[in-house]
């Protein structure tokens, strides 16, 4: 059984609880043993670092030190979490800086030695679980579906922190997953752009114009749904979709799925168990299309 230090992130335990439950459901089917980091702190999501970058680095060094001490690979389920973890890991390669940061971990009896390679569930599916294993568990191929990927910035940029060259599957991980599960990828300009969520409270007009533009583009190209590895994107694309439609003055009706929800559907898990009944944009039409 493959074992991981599991960081769920705040949103999966708050405004997007269906991401958390669907992750656990899928992990069980795949035989993944997830050891949740219950004592760890929020990554800061780039927001703590707006004013306190040093503090954010200490918090993330601590989380990575925990995984290191357990001698387990670190798994995130949020593009933002994995991106922020990887940026922290990059900075903490600087030995002098790491020593400085470690002074704050010493009272807890831990130390970050710089060995952690934080990864997203999406990458782990392709890199550790593998196509064969996923294929063997598919009971409900998603052949009827046209799906648009929506990555979330930090899982595709900045490339220097993401090891794309050593792990080429990371470049188009969503398209690969979509196709392994039997569905067809809808490619569109907006799929690697910003959903607008980070500025929702600062500039709602700009934020929802971004979300609306990408949703409209994918919808007009025939997507039945979008799939995203980022719960923050999910909030702007799903929960804010009715407002985004008003801002761009178009009709939008595009369900947004989390990565483990999509995988769970293909593995025959009940939609209810995957939290698909807890979305703002109704998923019924989508579920009917695949007979779920």
């Amino acid at each position: 059984m493959s074992k991981y230090a599991f960081w769920p992130g705040c949103v999966a335990q708050g405004a997007a609880p269906e991401l958390y439950t669907s992750t656990l459901a899928v992990a069980e089917k795949l035989g993944m043993d997830l050891v949740e980091l219950e004592a760890a702190a929020c990554t800061g999501a780039g927001i703590i670092s707006d004013g306190e970058p040093y503090l954010q680095d200490v918090l993330n060094a601590r989380t990575m030190a925990m995984a290191e001490q357990m001698d387990l690979p670190l798994m995130d389920i949020c593009s933002t979490c994995v991106g922020v973890h990887r940026l922290a890991a990059e900075k903490l390669r600087e030995v002098d800086y790491r020593i400085r940061i470690n002074a704050h971990l010493a009272p807890e009896g831990i130390e970050y030695r710089g060995s952690v390679d934080p990864r997203h569930l999406l990458w782990i599916l392709l890199e550790d679980v593998g196509i064969d294993k996923i294929n063997s568990l598919i009971t409900r191929p998603l052949e009827e579906l046209n799906l648009g990927p929506f990555y979330g910035c930090y899982i595709v940029r900045p490339e220097r922190t993401l090891d794309f060259d050593a792990n080429p599957t990371r470049r188009n991980s969503l398209e690969q997953l979509i196709e392994i599960l039997g569905a067809t990828t809808v490619t569109y300009d907006g799929m690697t752009k910003c959903c607008g969520f980070p500025i929702l409270t600062m500039n709602k007009q700009n934020s929802l114009t971004m979300a609306g533009t990408h949703l409209e583009e994918a919808q007009s190209l025939g997507a039945d749904a979008l799939v995203t590895p980022c719960p923050l994107c999910h909030l702007n694309l799903d929960a804010q979709q009715p407002d985004a439609a008003k801002v761009i003055d178009r009709n939008l009706n595009l369900p947004i799925l989390h990565v483990p929800q999509l995988l769970g559907l293909a593995m025959g898990i009940e939609p209810e168990k995957l939290g698909l009944t807890r979305h703002v944009v109704d998923t019924n039409r989508l579920l009917n299309k695949i007979g779920a």
Binding site: C42, P53, Y54, L55, E90, K193, T201, A239
Partner: protein, 351 residues
């Protein structure tokens, strides 16, 4: 010698017609996209328009979109731009009006530098030196990476905010402003920080999407410059804005519970003080959250948010200790500047 297909997005201003045109070009190993455009212009279609000058990634003239990403065409080899057999798509820069084919009107991009007054404002009462204004190497070191901008516009072209908001200063002008905020020879640090945090389209409108960092051919790290400007603006006391309130609200939630507090964050972003003093626009902003909250209620998410998940008790204790320690350490060292230093070191050194 191999053949490579180029699909070029063209625009004819006389007929106002946009169209794609395909050209096959014989390419040598090491040949650049710009070499290929020249080959097309010289041998196949003399009407193809694009900007170029130095061919050495110094002048910044030839930035354009290659397979959807902005880059210098003189610095991009054909072999690195395409898998063998795949066509290479070349288009004009984004977020600006096309003049003809691959030539865009850069006025809007350049105007942002004027708006941010990105020139040296020497200290008053100081006679201009006989030669240049000098500073120490150590003073230059921290921002030297930001001085390498060649104004090619690749960052502005790919900026996700500029795509929806003409008023955004944009990554290049903000990175240039950062360069003067950091410059010990400049006298307007405070004024600049105030302008950049209060101006519509300033530092708080950036989404942190990293497009500019990815596009920049010179490792200016524009987004990192914007982030450091935020930190310096807060430190300098320019805190009466949504961005700072969002940062402070978010951070205080993590301090208390170890996790983001989604219940409290909207109120804190709008500003408890503003709400209590009856600020009308603050109350309007609060009302703005209502439809979203009702939707979350209907989808049964609000209950989960109301549970206000946190780190476990042992974790919270450690997290609070760390917050206190860092607060104390800040009185003695500029730890945040060190954090940015580590970032530049690894980001640029790692390339």
């Amino acid at each position: 010698m191999a053949q490579q297909q180029f699909i070029i997005e063209r625009y004819n201003p006389d007929t106002e017609e946009s169209y794609e045109e395909s050209f096959d070009v014989d390419v040598q190993p090491g040949q650049t996209v710009l070499d290929s455009l020249n080959a097309i212009k010289w041998e196949q279609d003399g009407t193809l328009s694009f900007r170029m000058s130095c061919r050495h990634a110094i002048c910044g003239s030839c930035a354009m979109k290659v397979n959807g990403q902005s880059m210098l065409s003189c610095q991009t080899q054909v072999d690195s731009a395409a898998e063998r057999g795949d066509p290479i798509r070349v288009g004009p820069q984004g977020n600006q009006n096309v003049v003809k084919d691959l030539v865009v009107d850069v006025t809007k991009f350049l105007d942002q530098f004027d708006r941010a007054e990105t020139w040296l404002e020497p200290h008053e009462g100081q006679d201009p030196p006989e030669k240049e204004y000098r500073q120490k190497v150590e003073e230059f070191d921290h921002w030297s990476h930001a001085s390498t901008c060649i104004h090619c516009g690749a960052c502005y072209s790919d900026c996700t905010v500029a795509a929806v908001d003409e008023n955004f200063l944009g990554p290049a002008a903000l990175a240039k402003a950062y360069r003067f905020v950091m410059d010990s020879r400049d006298s307007k640090r405070e004024e600049r920080l105030q302008f950049l945090s209060e101006e519509q389209g300033g530092i708080w409108d950036c989404t942190r999407c990293y497009m500019c960092v990815q596009a920049c051919p010179k490792d200016v790290l524009p987004m990192d410059a914007i982030m450091e400007l935020r930190t310096m603006a807060i430190e300098a006391g320019f805190t009466n804005n949504h961005g700072t309130r969002h940062h402070k609200g978010f951070t205080s939630g993590v301090r208390k519970r170890g996790r983001l507090d989604e219940m409290m964050l909207p109120v804190q972003s709008v500003g408890i003080g503003r709400l209590l003093t009856g600020n009308i626009s603050a109350h309007k902003e609060m009302m703005d959250y209502t439809p979203g909250a009702i939707r979350l209620l209907k989808s049964r998410k609000l209950l989960k948010i109301a549970q206000r998940h946190g780190a476990n008790a042992a974790g919270r204790e450690q997290i609070q200790r760390i917050f206190e320690e860092v607060e104390t350490e800040k009185h003695h060292h500029n730890v945040d500047a060190e954090a940015f230093g580590a970032e530049f070191e690894t980001a640029i050194g790692g390339h």
